[in-house]
């Protein structure tokens, strides 16, 4: 295992926002936990494409790019060309010393570069060779994403990279393997590497890619116009290069007799982590958060604690960020406390924490969009109008300007504050898919 020397590990800080006062008989405690990591290594926050960071001894990071080479990529022919170009740009963004590989994906996965069953170490020569190899990419065959992921996992685990990341590009549905096979591949790969997924064009399935990105703790987005691929790949790769510490878990301790209602990441995007709990000692569980660079994420934790009398104080949850060490003992990077205080002061117990309110709204917004689009697909126009109207109202009230713009492409907004909308008769597939894919993107509380 690569040893992450201390100075390169970012500093983590945890801030808890909550109204700790509960009324008599109140049991539900909500808190927003902001986790920020800052000041990592010398390149932290400034990932320079191609910049020399030769000081690194041995590859600390490994990245595998999976490019869809199925037959459909040939139509229109620009798609394959753009995918090739985008991959080349991504390769250029790989930092010196980072281990990498390229996989061509069809109904089977094929190593494109370095094609020796392992990873190549990035330097000017290997980057040039990799780009040469891209010319051999041709379209033809089916789509079996599970096989691509398994190969990526095999390649990444052949090296000793601490931070392992994949980038997956596809344009179609996972038609040439059973959903269970993809699921089993995801189960195998979860926790072994992180993966961003991109759908190009409009023939892919939003739920499928969202599921992959979600299971592998990565981002998902649509690239409706293949011409936009290069820029997107570059920014994705830069983000991946900015990661400095992998396999961080959010550890949640709750008192005896309490029950965890949910644990969600709420910024930068909504991601329900409740079911991902791994037990970690008495009354504690770990939720995976993947790898971190210089960044900040928000989590919404909701715990139901046993009732206690007015005047009592209880620790409702202790949140810590833990990093497993090679010797098995977890290193606690930072922690925060969620408290519960029972009071008969109505003014205190009825106060709503602005952060909690904001993210409750953000989660409802994502849900309203997904339900609205679902209803629209199934022909329930009234249901769709109601849900999407609510989404427009929330987006306007919460300041999700980007989401509001996407919604305006699907519905005619009559009055945003009241949520009055009319469904558009004709909606471009790309607009609908963009809205669905980005429905979970959130904005933070206005300063």
């Amino acid at each position: 295992m690569a040893i992450l020397s201390k100075p390169n590990v970012p500093q983590f800080s945890v801030d808890v926002y909550q109204n700790e006062y509960l009324p008599e008989g109140g049991r539900e405690v909500n808190a927003i936990v902001t986790v920020t990591s800052t000041g990592g290594g010398t390149t932290g926050g400034h990932p320079m494409p191609g910049a020399a960071s030769g000081a690194q001894s041995g590859p600390g990071a490994g990245v595998v790019i999976m490019v869809d080479c199925s037959g459909s990529m040939e139509y229109p022919p620009t798609k394959m060309r753009n995918a090739r170009d985008a991959t080349a740009v991504a390769i250029d963004a790989i930092r010196d010393g980072v281990a990498f590989a390229v996989i061509g994906g069809t109904h089977v996965a094929r190593e494109v570069y370095p094609a020796n069953g392992g990873l190549a170490v990035a330097d000017p020569a290997t980057r040039a060779q990799a780009k040469q190899a891209l010319r051999r990419l041709t379209a033809g065959g089916g789509t079996a994403i599970g096989t691509w992921l398994r190969l990526a996992d095999k390649l990444l685990s052949s090296g000793d990279a601490a931070i392992r990341h994949g980038i997956l590009l596809t344009d179609g549905r996972n038609e040439h393997e059973k959903p269970e096979e993809l699921q089993s591949a995801l189960d195998t790969c979860a926790g072994r590497f992180t993966c961003d997924a991109r759908g190009v064009g409009t023939d892919w399935e939003v739920k499928e890619l969202t599921g992959i990105a979600s299971a592998l703790l990565g981002s998902v987005d649509i690239v409706a116009d293949p011409a936009g691929l290069a820029a997107d790949f570059q920014s994705m790769m830069e983000k991946a290069m900015g990661k400095e510490v992998a396999d961080v878990s959010l550890r949640l301790w709750t008192p005896q007799g309490s029950e965890i209602v949910f644990v969600k990441q709420v910024a930068p995007a909504v991601e329900d982590l409740t079911a991902r709990r791994a037990e970690a000692g008495p009354r504690a569980g770990d939720y995976p958060t993947g790898s971190w660079g210089d960044e900040s994420r928000d989590y919404h934790v909701c715990v139901r604690v046993p009732n206690a009398g007015v005047g009592q104080e209880m620790l409702a949850a202790r949140l810590s960020l833990v990093l497993p060490q090679p010797d098995g003992t977890p290193q606690v990077l930072a922690q925060g406390l969620v408290r519960a205080l029972w009071t008969d002061d109505m003014a205190a117990s009825t106060r709503i924490n602005p952060q909690v309110a904001h993210y409750t709204g953000q989660a409802e917004l994502a849900q309203a969009i997904q339900q609205g689009l679902e209803a629209r697909k199934s022909g329930d126009m009234d249901g769709a109008t109601a849900k999407l109207g609510r989404a427009v109202q929330l987006a306007s009230a919460l300041g999700n300007e980007d989401t509001a713009k996407l919604l305006a492409k699907v519905v005619d907004v009559v009055d945003a504050p009241s949520g009055t909308v009319r469904l558009k008769a004709r909606v471009a597939d790309a607009d609908e898919m963009t809205l669905e894919t980005r429905s979970t993107k959130t904005v933070r509380v206005k300063k």
């Binding site: 005896q256 008495p282 005047g311 104080e313 003992t329 008969d344 003014a347």
Partner: protein, 413 residues
């Protein structure tokens, strides 16, 4: 005292200040807690864990070495007698520790007062049930020759925002002086507990210094109230969180002090904490010595409402005078009294006087021998407030008059 078995004697804690179960104060020779009945001669369950038990995680062991960082309990459980591990093992059942599997996690430090199972973490919470552990300020008592005070969290508030300070000194001419300062933090303000602590400490220091210089008691009292005011005001300037939301509610508290100097005593106050005079001769009327800075008191004094009407109003307890940076007006009230006979001065916060509002009620609640047993009397008055519901923090100081400083002390039981 009947002879104790050898092992029990060895395990007897070295005069713990507080009961590990209920935080009630203990005497050195107590074998059972007077409040909850906990067997104090039994070793704490944590101590009973034999070395052969499953080793705790490395982190827990390190923690135990340092002892609790919390200020909750001074009490460290006694070290187990190596000689009799089996006996000790049996004794732990006293606390009902019978949950299989819970044992290895039972720490070496203090044990939770709420569930008796978990250890206490560095933040002062139980590692098992999460309950906050009693803090030092939850219940405080102090007795000096000539004055005793008790402060308690009460039953409905999660922390004690009251504070007191007591002191004795001598005037330049050798006359003994006994003082008590009682402060009540304003709950709706920010850091009310810090405000009351700062005000009582600053008030006490200022009062003592002035009296020792020979300043007349009334002037000393006025100066002390202003010193307390300055101390609370200074809190507002402290640690305004950088870039954070400014606190519109500056720390604030009320303050009432009494000082006995020779044949007179002087009372000073700002806010709605009170002082009462209760003569030894209970046939004489007791009296309230302070006039609240409160909405109700103002209404009554302005003749707009009767006392009954005013105190029935929801706004009755809104205070019109307090110590704090946002105080509208600072008007320290000072009054001196020269009683004809002996008696006691009761200085208290509204946590007590809500349950004994009139001077007659206060006199009735006060034991007849209050002058010779001030600490017992203060505890009795606290009991009255807690029996009444304990809706607020309760703080009460009892000062015998004339000052009884020449005596070495008071019987404690």
């Amino acid at each position: 005292m009947p002879p104790l078995p050898e092992s029990a004697r060895a395990t007897q804690p070295v005069s713990p200040a507080l009961c590990p179960n209920c935080a009630d104060p203990l005497d050195a020779d107590d074998r059972y807690c007077g409040s909850c009945g906990l067997d104090l001669t039994a070793p704490a369950p944590a101590a009973a864990a034999p070395p052969a038990a499953a080793p705790p995680p490395a982190a827990a062991a390190a923690e135990a070495g340092e002892g609790p960082a919390t200020d909750a309990f001074v009490l460290a459980p006694p070290k187990p007698p190596r000689a009799a591990p089996e006996a000790a093992d049996g004794d732990t059942l006293a606390l009902g520790v019978a949950v299989p599997g819970a044992r290895p996690s039972v720490p070496d430090g203090p044990v939770c007062v709420a569930c008796g199972l978990g250890g206490v973490d560095d933040d002062g919470y139980c590692e098992h049930c999460g309950h906050a552990q009693p803090r030092q300020r939850d219940h405080q008592e102090q007795e000096l020759a000539g004055v005793a005070a008790v402060s308690d969290r009460g039953l409905r508030h999660h922390r004690n925002e009251d504070a007191f300070a007591v002191a004795t000194t001598e005037l330049p001419d050798g006359t003994p002086a006994v003082a008590a300062v009682v402060c009540d933090g304003v709950s709706t303000a920010y850091r009310p507990d810090d405000a009351s602590a700062a005000a009582s400490a600053a008030g006490r220091e200022s009062l003592l210094a002035a009296l020792e210089r020979g300043t007349p008691a009334e002037d000393a009292m006025r100066t002390a109230l202003m010193a307390a005011f300055d101390a609370v005001t200074a809190l507002a300037d402290e640690e305004e969180p950088a870039g954070g939301v400014p606190h519109h509610n500056s720390p604030a508290c009320t303050c009432v002090s009494a000082v006995v100097t020779g044949p007179v005593f002087t009372v000073g106050w700002i806010g709605d904490s009170r002082a009462y005079w209760v003569p030894d001769d209970r046939t004489q009327p007791a009296s309230r010595l302070t006039e609240d800075d409160s909405w109700a008191a103002r209404m009554v004094s302005a003749g707009l409402m009767s006392e009954a009407e005013a105190y029935a109003d929801a706004r009755a307890h809104a205070i019109t005078g307090w110590l704090g940076a946002d105080a509208v007006e600072v008007d320290p009230h000072v009054a001196a009294f020269q009683p004809e006979g002996p008696g006691v001065i009761v200085v208290c916060t509204d946590g007590l006087w809500n349950y004994a509002e009139s001077a007659a009620e206060m006199a009735e609640a006060l034991p007849a021998d209050a002058r010779v047993r001030p600490l017992h009397s203060a505890r009795t008055l606290l009991g009255v407030a807690l029996d009444g519901g304990g809706h607020d923090n309760v703080t009460v100081a009892v000062l015998p008059f004339p000052a009884a400083v020449s005596r070495a002390g008071f019987p404690s039981a």
